[in-house]
């Protein structure tokens, strides 16, 4: 699985995309931080933390992580099925190794991108927030798991791109809406998005760790489906 993971990581990292992602994460975090300073009090009430730079990064991730991850990894599995390169993999390693390897590769890519962006901010923020790093990675891992799942159940990369974008726009909207509505349907949906857990009071930050369960669930579902799939 680490061979598949390393290949996935390398193919994501050696492209221009990784540099763009780091630049965007760094640039927007730094830019947002300036804005956040002006609205620190109301955002604090929403449970978005004290550090402006950390808040900047979290705000960016809350609004755009789903789109970033979908844009990069919507075809993480189905591209290999579509081009039939999966036949070389599936005859050499187990299907479990392929799915978990793909997740590990993508997870590592995002973990490093976020870490690098946070390290680049240190000269401005004068601090490094380990909590923000862990929370950001957990948050992004939700969407990595989701795209992995979508890419496993949807055979065509074009369709997974289309549906991925719709879902990545709908999820933040529904997730944020669920935090301020009494609509039962929206509230229920809110529980299956990471937003519910990330918008709790600041002293309830441990809620965000529950989000780890979602990527695990997505991986398990992907495994069940992928094992039964004709390749």
């Amino acid at each position: 699985m680490f061979t598949v993971g390393f290949r996935e990581f390398k193919s994501l990292f050696t492209s221009i995309r990784s540099i763009l992602i780091i630049v965007v994460l760094f640039g927007v975090t730094a830019g947002t931080a300036k804005l956040v300073r002006q609205f620190e009090a109301p955002l604090h009430e929403l449970g978005l933390g004290n550090d402006a730079y950390a808040m900047g990064l979290m705000l960016l991730l809350i609004l755009a992580a789903s789109l970033f991850v979908t844009g990069l990894s919507h075809n993480i599995v189905n591209k290999e099925i579509d081009t039939r390169t999966i036949r070389f993999l599936a005859t050499k390693t187990s299907r479990r190794n392929i799915i978990i390897g793909k997740f590990i590769g993508s997870f590592l890519f995002w973990a490093i991108c976020i870490t690098v962006a946070l390290l680049l901010i240190i000269p401005f923020s004068k601090s490094f927030s380990m909590l923000t790093l862990v929370q950001s990675i957990i948050f992004v891992s939700y969407f990595i798991g989701l795209t992995l799942f979508l890419s496993t159940i949807i055979p065509k990369p074009s369709l997974s791109m289309f549906l991925g974008i719709i879902i990545s726009i709908a999820l933040p909207v529904l997730g944020l809406w669920s935090s301020g509505t009494d609509n039962l349907f929206v509230k229920v949906i809110g529980y299956v998005t990471p937003y519910f857990y990330y918008l709790q009071e600041e002293d309830s930050y441990y809620y965000s760790y529950f989000v780890v369960l979602f990527p695990i669930l997505f991986i398990l579902l992907s495994l069940v489906i992928f094992r039964k799939r004709d390749l």
């Binding site: 193919s11 036949r87 993999l89 005859t91």
Partner: protein, 303 residues
Amino acid sequence: MTALQTNQLTKKYGKKTVVDSVNLHIPQGTIFGFLGKNGAGKSTLINMVTGLIKPSSGSFEVLGQPEKRLESIQKEIGVLPDYSTFYDDLTAFSHLNYFQKLLKQSLSKQEIIRVLSQVGLEDAVHVKVKKFSFGMKKKLGIAQSIIHQPKLLFLDEPTSGVDANAVLNIHSLIKEIAARGTTIFLTSHNLNEVEKLCDEIAIMNKGRIQTQGTMKQLREQYQQDIVVHIHHRSLSEKEQTQLKISLTELAVKIEIGGDASEIIVQSSELIPQVNKQFVRQDIDVFGLEMEQPSLEEIFLNLE
């Protein structure tokens, strides 16, 4: 031990049955040829027994292991799929390096290059696959299937789209691999290739195995009239007439020429008797050739 055994193996897509109750028994160490027209179900069968697609019903065993334990013997199976696409951003070397790591092998750089040389890609070791021709991709496909020296090798159309010289190299390579004891399951549209390389052949049509056996068995099974070409000394018109009369009861068709004749008999057992008639009439026979049905003729007879 059996390399591959299938029992009533079936694959259906909706109402369409692509592979229909196939029973195969392939002993280890043979080169097994699998023939059939496009859409006959050959690739579907290979994809099932290599774990790429799930059978609708029936079962199979590969190297003595049932379907559910197939992943545990992946190191012992090599597969060249019918459709070879690779990662455009990787070189031939990087591909084999990646695949050998997936198979938990530890080949050195030189060993990987040696495998690429075996298939004729020694000049393209560090060339990215996006620059490869179709034939080169096919060669890389073969290289990835043999890199771990499998006990059972599935080759789906290994020479289609490959130039004539490369075809000869691939044939030599197949013979070399088989000589090491590897069982080879080969599908091909090239009937001559199958006839030349394979110990045993199965012909598939509309998802079913229509016939199976060695070339000799197939010939006997599908042998029709035998054409015998006889080269002899020059015959006078009188001798030609006499010979024709003497052969009337033995042959279906007789064409006596000045120094060569063509006689069609219904059984190979009649050929010595034909020869005797020539000897009895004191006609020197310089050569006798029996025209056997080729695999192509057998294949066409099954249509």
